[in-house]
Every structure is written in structure tokens, then in C-alpha cells.
Symmetry: D2
Subunit: 301 residues, 4 copies
Amino acid sequence: MGSAFLARAMKLPDVQAHRAARPFRLTRVGVTGVVKPLRVSRHGKPNHLVGSFDVFVDLPAAQRGTHMSRNIEVVNRVIDEHVRKESASLEDLASGIVHALLERHEYAAEAEAQVSVDYFRERRTPLNQAPTLERYGLFASAIALRDGAERRTVGVEVTGMSACPCAMEGSRTILAQRGHAVEGFPTITHNQRNVATLMIEAGAGASVEADDLIDMAEASLSAPTYELLKRGDETALVMHAHEHPRFVEDVVREMLHHVVTRYPSLPADTLVVARSEAEESIHKHNAFAERAATLAELRES
Amino acid sequence: MGSAFLARAMKLPDVQAHRAARPFRLTRVGVTGVVKPLRVSRHGKPNHLVGSFDVFVDLPAAQRGTHMSRNIEVVNRVIDEHVRKESASLEDLASGIVHALLERHEYAAEAEAQVSVDYFRERRTPLNQAPTLERYGLFASAIALRDGAERRTVGVEVTGMSACPCAMEGSRTILAQRGHAVEGFPTITHNQRNVATLMIEAGAGASVEADDLIDMAEASLSAPTYELLKRGDETALVMHAHEHPRFVEDVVREMLHHVVTRYPSLPADTLVVARSEAEESIHKHNAFAERAATLAELRES
Amino acid sequence: MGSAFLARAMKLPDVQAHRAARPFRLTRVGVTGVVKPLRVSRHGKPNHLVGSFDVFVDLPAAQRGTHMSRNIEVVNRVIDEHVRKESASLEDLASGIVHALLERHEYAAEAEAQVSVDYFRERRTPLNQAPTLERYGLFASAIALRDGAERRTVGVEVTGMSACPCAMEGSRTILAQRGHAVEGFPTITHNQRNVATLMIEAGAGASVEADDLIDMAEASLSAPTYELLKRGDETALVMHAHEHPRFVEDVVREMLHHVVTRYPSLPADTLVVARSEAEESIHKHNAFAERAATLAELRES
Amino acid sequence: MGSAFLARAMKLPDVQAHRAARPFRLTRVGVTGVVKPLRVSRHGKPNHLVGSFDVFVDLPAAQRGTHMSRNIEVVNRVIDEHVRKESASLEDLASGIVHALLERHEYAAEAEAQVSVDYFRERRTPLNQAPTLERYGLFASAIALRDGAERRTVGVEVTGMSACPCAMEGSRTILAQRGHAVEGFPTITHNQRNVATLMIEAGAGASVEADDLIDMAEASLSAPTYELLKRGDETALVMHAHEHPRFVEDVVREMLHHVVTRYPSLPADTLVVARSEAEESIHKHNAFAERAATLAELRES
């Protein structure tokens, strides 16, 4: 740049006119990474959670100038107001935010709110039935249009374990070749942390419980994992996982099967995303499988 | 689970039959987070880069059983073979991978490869014209279908600076009220790191240079940033940024203007994503703006 | 490896004997990344927080064999028990954990617990005095020895803003050279997010309130930041920051000054760490300053 | 703050005088997160790497005012100059940087440079001996004092696999109770990704090869991991890991044993840090073990 750089610095551009020269519509304008404490009350029992929000509205081509700083200000205020109230669910909270945004951003045709939290449920360990508090990822979003249409998403992320069926067959073959009687019980294989994700997006009327999604995703893995395992629990868990060896592909197909069975009356245009990512113990990278489809497509297959 | 858990552990499920019961197609099966050194040669000059790969194929409903472990093995082998060769560009490398996958995964209808790298270009500091090596994010992907169709994406991520026009007007008003003559030069405002992202997805024939995208995204910010600023450079940079104050919305619209002007002959169905995320110095969260549209849509506005 | 690899696989090593051959003491054995909801009650008002724990004991050289899996089990159980109770502070929670560990790990000479949380406090915006909930990082740890000695650490991380004094002087000079009267008010400079960290480690008897550390760190920056800024607040904040321009070095020295003044009666061997990291808006990297010293050293300077 | 806030904003503080009031020494002043391409030449063969740098000097209490912005400028310039030259090793590069800093920061008593890279080595798969490029983390630092003393650190991070000995004994017991003959071969257990870290800090004269540290850390795990496993390799790897079951404690002790054996002539005050972190497949958190000690201490045990 050099001297031309400083030369340009001598006179101020006419900012407003300049900006008027780029009259493009914007798909999403808003904030990311807003972190707030919030309360979700389920069955009369409050959950205290820490939510991370991304919230957007669209912006027509004509909208520009001093209004722009107001966009962000209004988004921040609406988030602030809504987290101070108790919500019935994360998706209700997201829905409340997008409707308030459409009211106050009179020029916006569309508003979107996403929120994710760490969420905890009490589980029982496999053998001793000892209580243990387990962490799950919870995600909800709402997109509302000016014309009244609304779509809501509920998603969960479950960290469990997957054991590889292929290497188990390989180890059985080798052990048999060495003269061991290895039929009738599981032989060694690699196993690892596996993050199963299940998301369902439907119209505002559809009812999907996050707790159900967690149960379905967790049951689709080779085994759940636990923060606390007492004497005997660890072995019981390892046995269970090896008796249910699963590829990432299997984990996804299990989840899809659960969803199709569990929600016979959800609308055909309901969108389902099921994903399994295995943090492979034999590789430095992950194995990954995913299906994204409407319930109509899943019901056909 | 308890005793039922152990009871179930007594007999091995018939894994193959079990899996047959969930005959769902999978959209994406593959690997994520594969990191490899690679060489891209531009204008006869090799760039040594470290690429992070996510690579997938789809999987028909009928495909199951022992083939599954092979999926991952073939994906890994194809990546390994391709990074050992020199490529003309990241998108050529991605394209080579997806075509090799379609050849070796005879049942796949679709293959997808994504790769991202840190990329460096020599810049000159604003006042002293001192050379400084600047880092940019580079991203490329290719998706190929069995029927021959292919789409490629080239994307860049540029870290620069944005200065807020609204707070500058506010400070000018307050300083004027206090009796200062503040017309004719920029007054104080908040400024911050701003990450501008620009991605273009087109058919395999279209030619988009990553270097051009970097130049367009960098020019759309209030100012570039530099790893090295010598005496005088810092002030020159601050002056430049404050003479080009921009909201995140402005940064996106600048990028869109550059793209529409620069690529008059790219096909109408070319997809453009332009995004600006400001790590606000006055907030703990980020401000965000984005447009995703076809070139046809952008040319109309 | 090849065939030697498989050859070795033919006979099982005597695992216990093998391990006896490496009788090294271990400094820290335990768990990292345990995430749990917890309640801290301050002035009778409960705070619901999500804590991330790292917890360790040491292990003598003689300790080996089947006891090892028990180490992790006991650590997990102690964390689980303590988060189910309400604590008076994060450091009390950490202290409770380490004392329980010394009781149950009879061979350990030392136990250590660290916990970090996102923590929220209500602030008022600079001009409108509107309430806004602000996020802070909170960290506490306790290390206890078998002989009774205990050290506790309380630390905070405050995200605020720093404005550069040097570039402000540079811009003033250039504007003056251009004939503008720029004395008596702040001129433009680069400003950015600045993360100020302040940690105090003292004997178990010392009383340090995390809220006080937050106040001191926040006051040491050019300005606090707010999640919500109403009309006029943004300009007031920008004015305040530019009237308190600070290098990272200044931010650290301000914190040290506050600590020395605020804690005249804390023991001389109290350890203080003060750190400021500016996410420079003119660079792609961060500027950093830090002091680690005892109160005795700080009182001398 | 409110009106007092704006009231304070009316008059500029005397910045220089203000700063003089806090004459604290600073332990570390510099930059973090500087990313640069660099070349390290080993045995005449250049490695092209991408380094991330943190670089600091100390600052005496008397040093303040306009010199401070120069600190960062000089640090940036020295990094820039040194990455443009080829180095014999990462620690040589770090050493070159700290000596140049002491020359140009005449008031600094101490300088420190840290650099980390992704590093790749060709390995052979366990059964097929197929070549595969594996990723390792490499870290080096140098600290030099004005009086001539210098310490250098070389560290490596190796991602491999650990299989739990305890759960293996548990599964053997249960399978035996069910009447299976399970002596003479490994039974099922949980296994997982395990990140082994090995760092050695010694005086400037000591010679420690990063490649040797990688070999020692990798050999201390239950098994290495590979990005590419051909038919048969996967089973061979799983067999090997289960024939070398190891707790995190075992992995650390193996590394310590290797270090003591490999470096009989390194000085007694050489510092060794060995660490193993297992991303437990049965838990959502990690298991961790570590030893930090001098070679003198390790040689005694």
C-alpha cells in the first residue's frame, strides 16, 4: 500500500453512500456464542442449564445505514429477556426468541434461534445399579417465517462405546487357528468412544422429547458409558459392548430404526439426521456414518 | 440393567442377521480428521501444506456385513495415495480422491472429499512495505456422482479487522457536544478481529483461484492484519481501518459485490457463501452476517 | 513389525511381573474432563453451575497391579459424592474432594483437585444502567498433603477490552500534522478483546473471594464488556475504553497493584499470577503479559 | 457506572504518569499463537512444517511507556527472520530466537521461545508392512538468561492405543465361570485412544533426538495406531494391543524406564515429564497419569 495508502487516508469516504452501492439481501444477521444460564422446567422440576446461543434474522437489500447496529442490539435484548423466564423446553425457548424477533424486526422475513446445553440425567450402573449422573449434549432450534410457518429441531449427542464386529471375527479366526475353542463368546476387538447424534426437525405442532432421543441414541451404541463404575460394573459393561459389536454404519441404522418405530404419526416431511462418529482406537482419525432424510424416505426403505 | 444385563450377555446375537434388519441407505460413510502433509504446485512453485481431510461415500441399503470395515480401509488408502502425488490445486486433489473412490466403491452412487489447510502468502506492510508472511485458511471440496456430475468448492477464511461505523458517529456527536472540532477525520470506535469467509461452489469446469478469493475477502474488511508491523505501520493500519468503518453486514455485501463483478461468466447455478464474524471488542460474543445464494440471485439484486 | 509381531503375539506376557519391573513413583494419577452440575451457595443464594474437574493423587513406586483400576474408581466416586452436596465455594468443594481422597487412598501422600465453571454476575450497562448478565470464568483448586498441609487456589478469567496507548499517540501525531486540533480528547487506536486472568494461591486459612478477583481484573482493563448495550451505552463504553488505553503490560500491573492493596494481611508466601492476553485486532496472533510472584516479592517492588 | 462514568470521561488521564505508578516487574511479555511455515533439515532432508509459536521476554519494573509497543514488534520481527532460515532442529530454531531477543531487548534478563508442529514419519503396518505416514506432535522450547545459561526442551505427543489389564482379568473370570477355556490367550477388555507425552528439558549442550522420544513413547503404549491398515493388519494390531494391556500408570512407567536406560550420560538435573491420557471408551472422561522428575530422582527409584 505505502504512500497511496496514506494518501487515501487523507479524505473520509462518504460511508452511507458507499454502503448504498451494495444493496444485497443478507440471509442471516445476528450473534453467535452468547452464553447464558437458563431454566427449563420439565414435569414441574427445574433444570438449571448453561445455554450457548446463535440467533439470526434475515435482512432485505434495502435495509442499511444506522439501523444495522440496532439489529444486534435487538437480538441481544430478546435473548436476555427470554432466558430470564422459565421455559417448558429448549425448543420453546428458541421459539419464543424467534417470534419476539419477528415482532421487533419489522423488516425481517425470517428469524432463527439455536441453543445448545450440557444436560444431565441420572442413570444406573450395569451391575450394581448404582446411581450415576451422565452428561448429554442437547440442541434445539426454531426457524419462523413472517407468514406464520415454523420449524423446530430437537437434537441430542450421546457419548457411548462402539466395538468393531470385523476385528472380532478376525481375532476369533486367528485364535481358532492357534487351537483355542473360541465359539460361543465374544473375542477381542478394538472399541472406542463413539458420539451418536440424533436430530429431528418438524413443524411447530410435532412433539419430540429430547429424553426419548437420548434413550434411542444410547440404545443404538454397543454400550452406554458411565462416569462411575463400581466393582463388577466395568466387566459387565465390557461384556455387553462386545456382545453388541457395531460399526458406525450399524449405529446409524439402529437409530433410524428406532425413530421410524417410535414416531408413526409424525408428518412425512419431518427431517431426521442420524450420525455416529467413532474415535477409533486403532487410528488417529475418526470413522463416520450419517443419514439425513425425511421420515417419508425412511418409512419407504 | 442389572441381572437382565448379564443374562443377555449369556448368548451371542447373530450379528449378521441382526444388521440385515435395518436396511437403511446411508448418506455419508467415511473418515474425519485425517491429517497429512501434501504438496500443491502453483505456477511451478511447490507449496508444502498440512491438510485435514473428511472423506465420504454413500452406502446403499443392501450393503452390509463384512464389507463395512472395507469402506474405511479403501477411503484411507485413496487419501494416502493421492497426498503422495503433487496436485495443481486443493480442489484437484479433492477431485482425484472422489473419482478414485467411485472406481473402488462400485456400489457407491456419490463420493465427497473435503480438505482444509493453513496457507501463507507474502504481503507488504502498509507504510514500510516490509515483507510479512500472512496466514489464511483454505478449503476445497469435490462431490462426484456416478453419472458423471461433479461440483467443486473453493473457500477461504481471512482474518482481518472491522471498525464499527455506528459507534464512530456516536463518539463524533459526543466530542462535538463537548466543543471539539471533529469533522474531517475519523473519531474513535470499537474495532476487532473479523473473520471473513468466502466460498464458491461450481461445476467441475469453472475456474476459481483461491488467491483471488483471499484478495476479495481481505479488501472487504476495514483493514487487513499483519503478523509484522514496523514503526509507523501500526498507525497507518489504524488510520486505514477507521477510514473504512464496516459492520459485518457491510463486509458481506462488499464480498458479494466483488464476486459478482469478478466472475461475469461463471454459470448462474454457481453457489456463493459470504460470511463475516466479528469478535466484538465490546461484547463477549460475536456479531455475524452471511449470505448464501446462487450467482443468478446475486446478479439480480 | 511383521512376522516378529505375530510371533510375539503367540505367548502372553506375565503382566504383573512385567509391571513390577518399572517401580517408578507417579506424581499424578487420576481423571481429567469430568463434567458435573453443582451448587455453590453464597450468602444463602444457590448458584447452579456446571463444573469441569481434573482430580489426581500421587502413587508410590511400590503400588501396582490390580489396585490401579481402583484408583480411578475411587476418584470418580469421591467427585460424585461431593457434587451432590451443596458447597460454600468452589475451593471448599475442591478441598472436600482432596481430603476424602487422602482418606480412601491410604498410600497417597498428596491429592489435588481442580474445578472450573462458567459463572454469571449481573452488571449494569455504562450509560442506561440496564441490568445485563455477564459471564466470567471461575477456577479453584486444592492440594493437600498427608501431613496436613493444604494450599488452595482461586482464579478468575475476565473478558474485557483493551485499547492501545501507542497507536493512539501515533494517530494524534498524524492528525495534528494534517492540521486538526486533537488535544484534549482520545484519538483513534486499535482495541480488542482482552482476557485478564488473576489467580491467588494461599494456605487453607486465607480468605479470597472470587467476586473480588473479578472486580479487580475487570477494573484493570481499558473497559469491561457487556452482552447487552442499549442506545448510548455503546458510545459511553467506547469513550471509557479510549480514555483508559492500556497495553497488556499495563493490565497486568494494574491487577498486581489491586492485589497488593486489597490483601495486606495475606501471608508473604501467597502466590499471585496475573495475566493479560489481547486478541489483537491488528495482528492474527495475541499479545501477552504475565507476572507470577509471591506477595512478598510484589510488596517489595 | 452511569453518570460518574461519563463524568470521568470528561478529562483525559495522564497515561504516562498513571503507568509509572505500577512499577512491577513482568515475568513474561510477548506473543502467543504466531503461526508460520518453517523448514527443519534432518540428515540433509528438509521437513516442511507449520509451527505455532509463543515467545516471551521478561520486563524489569523500570521499563514502561512507549517502549512497550516495541516489545511486541521486536518479538514479531525475530520470529519472522528465524523462520525464513532453515534450522537443524526445532530446539535450534527456538534457541536462535531467544538469543536474538536478548540481543535486541537490552533490558531483558531472560527470553523464552516455544514452538509446536505436526510432524510426520513413515511407519510400516504390523502385518503387511505397508508404508503409512503417521502424525506426531512435536514441541521444543528454549529459555536463555542474560548470564549465558540456557535450557532446552524437546517434547513429543504420540497417539496410540491402551487396553485395560483389569477388565481383561474380569472378563476372563466371567467367561471361565461360564465354562469356557480361556487360558493362554487375551480376553476382551476396553481399549481406547491414548495420548502419550514425553518431554525432556536439559542444558543447551545435551543432545536429545525427537525421533527417539517418539519411538520410546510409542513403544510404551499397548500398541501404535496407523492411518492405514490393510487386510489382516487390523487383527494383528488388536492382538498386539491385547497382549500388552496397560493402565495409564503402566504407560508412564514404561516411558520412564526407556528414558533412564537410553540416556545414561544426560546430566542429573535433566528434567523429564512423562504423561499418558486415555480417552476411556467406558467413561465420558479421561484417565490420566504423569511423572515429573529429574533424571537423578528417576535413576534412584
